[in-house]
Amino acid sequence: MTRHRGRGIASINYPIGMNLGGDPSQALVHSNPSGKFTVALSSIDLGQGMKSVTRQICAETLGVPVEDVYVDTADSDTGPHCMGSFASRGTHRVGNAVMAAAREARGVMMEAAAEELEVNAADLETDGRGNIHVKGAPHRSISTKDVAIAAQFKQGKTISGRGIFLVPLSDVDPETGEMSPATCYAHACLVAEVEVDDETGEVEMVRMDSAYELGRALNPRLVEQQLVGGAWMGVSHALYETPEPYYPDPSHGPRDFVEYLMPGPGDICPHDIAVLERPAPDGPFGAKGPGEMCANPVLPAVANAIFNAVGVRIDDLPITPEKVLRAIKSQGGPRPQARR
């Protein structure tokens, strides 16, 4: 028995969002008389951090503390329309909609503040701590709470805003077949290092090194968290997960979550991540989206690493020990490739 070390690489150019009849998302922002703001969405946060990021975007655009913004989402009965959380579109599409809504709400808030301070709204600025003051004269100040109360009880105004971000459908050019499926692209490159056991066909992850270009990372810790976890979803698709291991033959499929293979804490390996920030011109504060892209390059990188280790090219996922072993046997033994 020998364990062969192999290294594989894969790069990805990942479109943000989709192009099936147009890709819109909406947001509504309004203030309460307390001077706190609510963002209404119907977009779903499955743990990627959409609630945190839309909250940051709204607070930054309004010029108020992030603590003063509440994001009410995931209820399609009450929230404005969203296409959904997929295609790495959340931060980009929903974030842009929130930004537009917050900008409109900020306009009303500044007008209301201007009326209270008896100045021109263009002469006002927010301090990011819940106050609005005259530029260059911080003592002429009013809190967002007092503005909200004045708007509600004296001026009869709603401090609110509507936002939509729509990427219109890009039709296929009948002459060239060309289309623009997305307005911006994220990029990644991942190197996977594996060890393949030529007696059992088992593949063990040794380490991963990766670089991601994803626009501006609006919440760097959440981005890192998603990249770490997402890479392992990729490994899992590459090596473990399938409901039908002998598709289309349904036999030997997992019958429940006890038999369905997923990585556990003992499977993970060191993973070095570099995040490159190149702000997207049409992204909210330059953001694209890490989303699915963090899982995708792992699969070809692992397949390439297995080829590098034992010289077998498996093009059917997941790359189970059985497939590796059959391929090694059919070529008469392992054929380690040049070390890369």
Partner: protein, 158 residues
Amino acid sequence: MPKIPVQFRHNGRDVAIFVDGGTNLLVALRELIGDMTPKFGCGQGGCGTCSVLIDGELHLSCLTLAETVAGRSIETLDGMKQGPNLHPLQRAFADHFAAQCGYCTPGMLMAAKALLDRNPAPSRAEIVEAISGNICRCTGYEPIINAILAAAGGRASA
């Protein structure tokens, strides 16, 4: 069939419930006691998100019959906070971004507590072993392991 009376301690408080024979502890905790912190994941002992401590030992509440815990002491995530303060493990989980969707978090915290209660200074390998019955579908094991190391006073690697 008559209901079975069961008395036990739940996070330091005496409770008494009536259960149908065969009711599992997870259902009893959630539906009869109202403690929603143990989560229902697979319902067959494969994911660990329903983990609770019974007399300080880690157990899967979905595989434990409620009638078998009479007279014993149950700890759940609901009892982990010390007054207004987060338990050091909870604090470390927050500081290390050890939750994404959060569904595995209650079970992870209970598995970690069971470990630290019996071994206050575990190695990384011992931590991996201790949480190996718990699945994180967001696959965020790295920050979870780092958080437990940090809570144990060890140095978490990046």
